[in-house]
């Protein structure tokens, strides 16, 4: 079960552009996503879906335009505090392969200053379909198992905003079904979700859409 969010966060972005030297990744991208909604970002390979996600979650600065996180009372969340409110699952982001799944979660609990006990961490691993007693470092995991751990890491602090970049990739059919059900629970609980995908099934979860041109 997903706990209900008391104060959701909406994200609005306007006239976003990103360029690396002379190469323009995208220009004039605008949009908004409210609590309880899923914003789907789609587009061909190389169109900048992951770059836009990185800008929206604060890992990259846009070359132009601005992103705003707004609480339901209208107040703006400062950029340096965004990270407290969001969880991210993305192919370009890995967990620590020398550590076990439980050690990874333990590290993120401590470094985020959370009060999530060992039992809760174990339950979270079970929920995403991983064995909390497994002592193999993540290096020995299949890509699907590593993806499940990345999802657990993103859900650890029950974030108001969730960024999912191709979340179903490498998951088996049972994992994809679980993910779909869990996203539905998150929407129900008022979470704000930004989803970058070209998967037809995942695109169906969206209530808003930003299509990037190649």
């Amino acid at each position: 079960m997903v706990s209900a969010v008391i104060t959701g966060i909406s994200i609005s972005f306007s006239d976003l552009a990103k360029r690396y030297d002379l190469r323009v990744i995208f220009r004039s991208v605008s949009g908004e996503v409210l609590p309880g909604e899923v914003l789907v970002i789609n587009g061909p390979n190389g169109s900048g879906k992951s770059t836009l996600m990185a800008i929206l979650c604060g890992l990259l600065r846009p070359s132009r335009g601005e992103v705003r996180y707004r609480r339901q009372d209208g107040s703006i969340v400062p950029r340096d505090r965004w990270r407290r409110h969001l969880g991210v699952v993305a192919p370009a982001m890995a967990v620590y392969e020398e550590l076990t799944a439980l050690e990874n979660l333990g590290f993120f609990v401590r470094v985020r200053g959370l009060s999530v006990g060992l039992e809760q961490q174990r339950r979270l691993l079970e929920r995403v379909g991983l064995d909390p007693d497994r002592t193999t470092p993540v290096r020995g995991y299949s890509t699907g198992m590593a993806q499940r751990l990345k999802i657990a890491q993103a859900l650890l602090h029950s974030p108001e905003v969730l960024f999912l970049d191709e979340p179903g990739s490498n998951l088996d059919p049972a994992g994809q079904d679980w993910l779909e059900g869990h996203v539905a629970e998150l929407i129900e609980a008022g979470r704000t979700i930004v989803l970058a995908t070209n998967d037809r099934r995942e695109m169906g979860w969206g209530s808003r859409r930003v299509a990037l041109a190649g």
């Binding site: 890992l59 370009a92 020398e98 470094v111």
Partner: protein, 226 residues
């Protein structure tokens, strides 16, 4: 404050745990240190230097071995985060000051291990007599801290660059050279028992460590963010 310290400790413990499982940095440090020490002790040994030259020349040799062993092993802390794609999650999970202090603590642990292994062995194999032992230990601590602070910020800078290997030495050398000179001077003084020169050297080392700490703490958030 306690929460910040706990977060810093989490980063350092995570790095130490990963390091003790892979032993990449420790093996680099140990291999370089032991190879250099073996070469120096075999070719020079404890008796080939004139008595009046021994304090200075052995101090030079000691710090050269420590310095280059440190350069061989300490550049990995940030490069590894970038190469294994764990840096983005760390950026999202921890405040920049937490990451900086955690990595500094980790590098400090590696330097302590290096010095604890290398310095007594060097003194025994080379017959290096230290008159002011506790003063020398204090100088090692100050020097180790300055070395860790400098290599941590340089490692963070080079992790963002493409030509990582060469850049670490190129950026480290000018920053560490003045430090090295005062550490050699202080070690020579600790060996001969010259308290005045020792105090002067220690003050210089502590000043450099202080300056590098302030500059690094200020610079790191800019380097670590995009």
């Amino acid at each position: 404050m306690w929460r910040w310290l706990a977060e810093v400790a989490a980063v350092a413990v995570k790095d130490l745990r990963a390091e003790f499982r892979t032993r990449v940095a420790i093996n680099s440090l140990a291999l370089f240190a032991l190879t250099t020490l073996a070469a120096v002790s075999y070719t020079i040994g404890p008796y080939r230097l004139a008595d009046e030259d021994r304090p200075f020349l052995l101090s030079v040799l000691l710090w050269i071995v420590v310095f280059f062993a440190a350069l061989a092993g300490l550049d990995r802390s940030f490069v590894k985060e970038e190469e294994s794609h764990t840096a983005p999650l760390l950026r999202l999970a921890a405040a920049p000051t937490v990451v900086w202090a955690g990595k500094l603590l980790y590098n400090l642990c590696l330097i302590v291990i290096l010095m604890a292994m290398l310095v007594p062995l060097f003194c025994i194999l080379m017959g290096f007599k230290i008159v002011m032992v506790w003063h020398f230990v204090g100088l090692l601590a100050a020097g180790g801290f300055a070395l860790a602070v400098t290599t941590t910020i340089v490692a963070a800078i080079i992790a963002q660059a493409m030509t990582r290997g060469a850049l670490f030495s190129v950026l480290s050398l000018p920053l560490l050279l003045p430090l090295l000179i005062f550490l050699i001077q202080g070690t020579t003084a600790a060996s001969t028992g010259d308290l005045e020169i020792f105090a002067e050297s220690l003050r210089a080392v502590l000043s450099m460590a202080g300056i590098m700490t302030v500059v690094s703490a200020w610079l790191f958030p800019v380097v670590w963010s995009d």
